[in-house]
C-alpha cells in the first residue's frame, strides 16, 4: 500500500487538489454569492499595489502635463469635463421634465424630485483573466458603497457593485454574462431583461414575437430590478430577429462606449421618466400665395372652359361695371349702378392674371396660358333684364 501511494503520489495529490477546488466551486455556486474571505485577502493585497501604481502614474503624468507641458490646462480641462458631464445629466433631467405636456405639472415634478445621489469613482483595475468582465473602483465601504448599487456614466448604465471591500469595490460590467437588468423600450414601452453576453453587444430577453421593437430604438432601465432607477439609457437596438419563443434583440450598450475611466455609483437612486420619442418633425415647405389668387382661379377657369357659359359672361359684365364705378363686391352698403352697364361690344374678356402673358394666339407660350378670346357680344340679353338679375345677385352676395 505504501509503495502504491509513493508510486502514484503526484497523481493522487493532483486529484485531491482538483477535488478540493471542485468542492469549493460547488459550495460557492450553491451559496448566495457571499464574498469569501480569500477574496477579501486577495483584493486587499492587490488593490494597494494598484492604487500605488495609479498614484505614481497619475502623479507623474499630472506633473508632466501641469508643470511642463501646460500649466493648469489639464486641471481646467478635467474641471470642464466634469462640468460637461454634470450638465449633461442635468440636461437630460430638465429635457425630460420640459417635454412633459403640462408645464405646471413638470415644475411640480421638478420640485418634488431631486436627482439621484451619486458618488464619483475611478476605475483602478480590471478583473484578472481574459474571460472576466469586472472592474475595481477606488470607492469601498468606507465611502458608503454597498453591494448591489448601480454604476452609471452620463451616457448610460455601466454595471452593478457585486462586492465591497474597505477601500475598493468590484463592479460587474453590463457586458458580463452574469449581468441582467430590467429594461423598457422607448417607443412601445416593451419590457424585457437585458443580459450581457461576454461580448460588446448585449441581448434583451423575454420579448415575445408579438411585441414591436425597431432597430435604432432606445432601451432604458425600467426600475423593476430595484437596482437601476428607471429612465437611465441602456443602449440602442442594433438588430432584431424573430425567434421562438422570444425575439432575439441585440443592443449596443451606451454607457461604456467611451471607455471606463470615471464612473458614478448611485447611492440613492431616483426614478425618472422615460424620455418621449423625438418625432421626426421635419418642416413642410409651403409656397407663398400667388399675387392675385382670384385672378389665377379665373384664368384657370377660363382656360379650362374654351366657351364661357352665360353665367361667366354675366359675371364679366358685372365685374366690368363694378370696376368702372370703383365698387368692390362684398364691401359697402351701396350697390353699383347696374343701369350703366358697359356696352355689350366693349365687354372686357374674363379677367386674366396680372402677370399672365398677353393673348397672342400666334405664339402661344407653354408656360403662360393664353387668354381666351373675348366672349361674343350679348345681343340677346337686354340691359334691364341684366340689371334685375344683378340686383337679385347683389342682394344675395353683398353680405348685408
Amino acid at each position: 500500500m505504501e509503495s502504491f501511494l509513493n508510486r502514484y503520489r503526484n497523481i493522487t495529490v493532483l486529484f485531491l487538489v482538483i477535488f478540493g477546488q471542485l468542492l469549493l466551486l460547488a459550495v460557492q455556486v450553491k451559496s448566495d454569492r457571499n464574498v469569501p474571505v480569500i477574496r477579501v485577502w486577495t483584493v486587499t493585497a492587490i488593490t494597494p499595489f494598484a492604487r500605488l501604481l495609479e498614484a505614481v502614474r497619475g502623479g507623474g503624468t499630472g506633473f508632466f502635463r501641469n508643470y511642463i507641458l501646460l500649466h493648469n490646462a489639464d486641471a481646467e480641462n478635467r474641471s470642464l469635463r466634469d462640468q460637461v458631464d454634470h450638465l449633461k445629466m442635468d440636461n437630460i433631467f430638465l429635457r425630460d421634465q420640459l417635454n412633459t405636456a403640462d408645464r405646471a405639472r413638470a415644475l411640480a415634478l421638478f420640485q418634488q424630485h431631486t436627482q439621484s445621489k451619486t458618488l464619483a469613482a475611478i476605475v483602478i483595475a480590471s478583473g484578472a483573466g481574459v474571460n472576466s468582465k469586472v472592474v475595481f473602483v477606488d470607492r469601498g465601504s468606507g465611502s458608503g458603497v454597498e453591494r448591489g448599487m448601480a454604476v452609471v456614466t452620463p451616457d448610460g448604465i455601466v454595471g452593478k457593485v457585486v462586492a465591497v471591500y474597505p477601500n475598493a469595490s468590484q463592479v460587474l460590467l453590463m457586458t458580463d454574462a452574469d449581468f441582467a437588468a430590467g429594461v423598457i423600450s422607448q417607443k412601445g414601452g416593451v419590457r424585457g431583461t437585458f443580459k450581457g453576453q461576454g461580448a460588446p453587444m448585449g441581448k434583451v430577453d423575454y420579448i415575445s414575437n408579438s411585441e414591436k421593437v425597431e432597430v435604432g430604438e432606445w432601451f432604458y432601465t425600467s426600475g423593476d430590478d430595484r437596482i437601476f432607477p428607471r429612465g437611465f439609457p441602456v443602449g440602442v437596438v442594433k438588430s432584431v430577429h424573430f425567434d421562438s419563443p422570444f425575439q432575439d434583440v441585440l443592443i449596443e450598450p451606451s454607457g461604456i462606449e467611451r471607455g471606463l475611466d470615471e464612473v458614478l455609483i448611485i447611492v440613492e437612486g431616483v426614478h425618472r421618466a422615460i424620455p418621449p420619442v423625438e418625432i421626426a418633425d421635419q418642416p413642410v415647405y409651403i409656397a407663398p400665395p400667388p399675387p392675385d389668387a382670384a385672378a389665377v382661379r379665373e384664368a384657370a377657369a377660363a382656360e379650362a372652359g374654351a366657351t364661357p357659359t352665360e353665367a361667366d359672361k354675366l359675371r364679366s359684365v358685372y365685374k366690368a361695371a363694378g370696376d368702372a364705378q370703383g365698387h368692390k363686391y362684398g364691401e359697402g352698403y351701396k350697390p353699383p349702378d347696374l343701369v350703366k352697364l358697359p356696352a355689350a361690344g366693349s365687354t372686357p374678356p374674363p379677367a386674366a392674371p396680372a402677370n399672365a402673358a398677353p393673348a397672342t394666339p400666334a405664339a402661344p407660350s407653354p408656360t403662360a396660358p393664353t387668354t381666351p378670346a373675348a366672349p361674343p357680344a350679348q345681343k340677346t340679353v337686354p340691359n334691364e333684364r341684366l340689371a334685375n338679375q344683378a340686383a337679385g345677385a347683389q342682394s344675395g352676395t353683398s353680405g348685408h
Binding site: 466551486l25 460557492q28 485577502w41 501604481l53 480590471s126 483573466g129
Partner: protein
C-alpha cells in the same frame, strides 16, 4: 545546464535537472504577473489577450520539473486570479493546476531550454487553458460562452512570442546554487 542546441528530447530523466529559484522570486513573479493582468489591460486594451499568470506557471513548472510544485503553484496562482474575477473560486484554479501539473510532466521528457519547445509549449498550454476553461464554464456554471477557436489560435501564438521573451528574462533570476 548547457544549452542543448538542436536537440529537443532528453535521453534520460536524469539529464533534466531541476532549476532552483529563491522564495522571493517564486512569490514576487506570480504576484507581478497577476498585478500586470489586472492593471495594464485597462490602459492597453490590446494586451488583454496576454495570460501572464499562466505563462509564469508554465515556466516554473517546466524549469523546476516537479509535478507537485507545478500543480500547487498553478492552484495558488489560479485561485488568486479567481479572487479577482466575478467567477466562482476554483475555475482558474483547476485549469492552472492542470496546466502546472502537465507542464511539469512534459518537462521531464523535453529539453525545456530549447526556444522552439518553449514556444510550442506556451502555445499548446494556452489553447489547453482556454478550452478547459470553456468546458468548465459550460459544464459547471451552465453558461454559454462563445467557442472562439480562431482567436484562441492567434492569441496562443502571441502568448508564445511573449512567453519566449518572458522565459528569457526569468532565466536570469535563477539561483546560482
Amino acid at each position: 545546464m548547457d544549452y542543448s542546441g538542436g536537440r529537443v528530447l532528453l535521453s534520460s530523466q536524469r539529464e533534466g535537472q531541476s532549476t532552483h529559484y529563491s522564495p522571493r522570486v517564486l512569490i514576487l513573479v506570480p504576484l507581478a504577473a497577476i498585478l500586470f493582468q489586472v492593471y495594464i489591460p485597462q490602459f492597453f486594451h490590446f494586451l488583454q489577450f496576454l495570460e501572464l499568470p499562466m505563462l509564469v506557471v508554465v515556466y516554473f513548472a517546466l524549469m523546476r520539473r516537479s509535478q507537485l510544485g507545478g500543480l500547487f503553484l498553478g492552484a495558488l496562482v489560479g485561485i488568486a486570479q479567481d479572487s479577482l474575477t466575478i467567477k466562482p473560486l476554483g475555475m482558474y484554479g483547476i485549469v492552472k493546476t492542470l496546466v502546472g501539473y502537465f507542464a511539469a510532466s512534459v518537462s521531464v521528457r523535453f529539453d525545456v531550454e530549447h526556444s522552439i519547445i518553449r514556444g510550442m509549449l506556451c502555445f499548446f498550454f494556452y489553447l489547453f487553458h482556454q478550452c478547459l476553461y470553456w468546458v468548465m464554464e459550460r459544464a459547471l456554471l451552465g453558461h454559454q460562452p462563445p467557442f472562439e477557436m480562431q482567436s484562441w489560435l492567434v492569441q496562443g501564438g502571441l502568448n508564445a512570442v511573449v512567453g519566449l521573451a518572458l522565459f528569457h528574462f526569468l532565466d536570469k533570476l535563477r539561483s546560482s546554487a
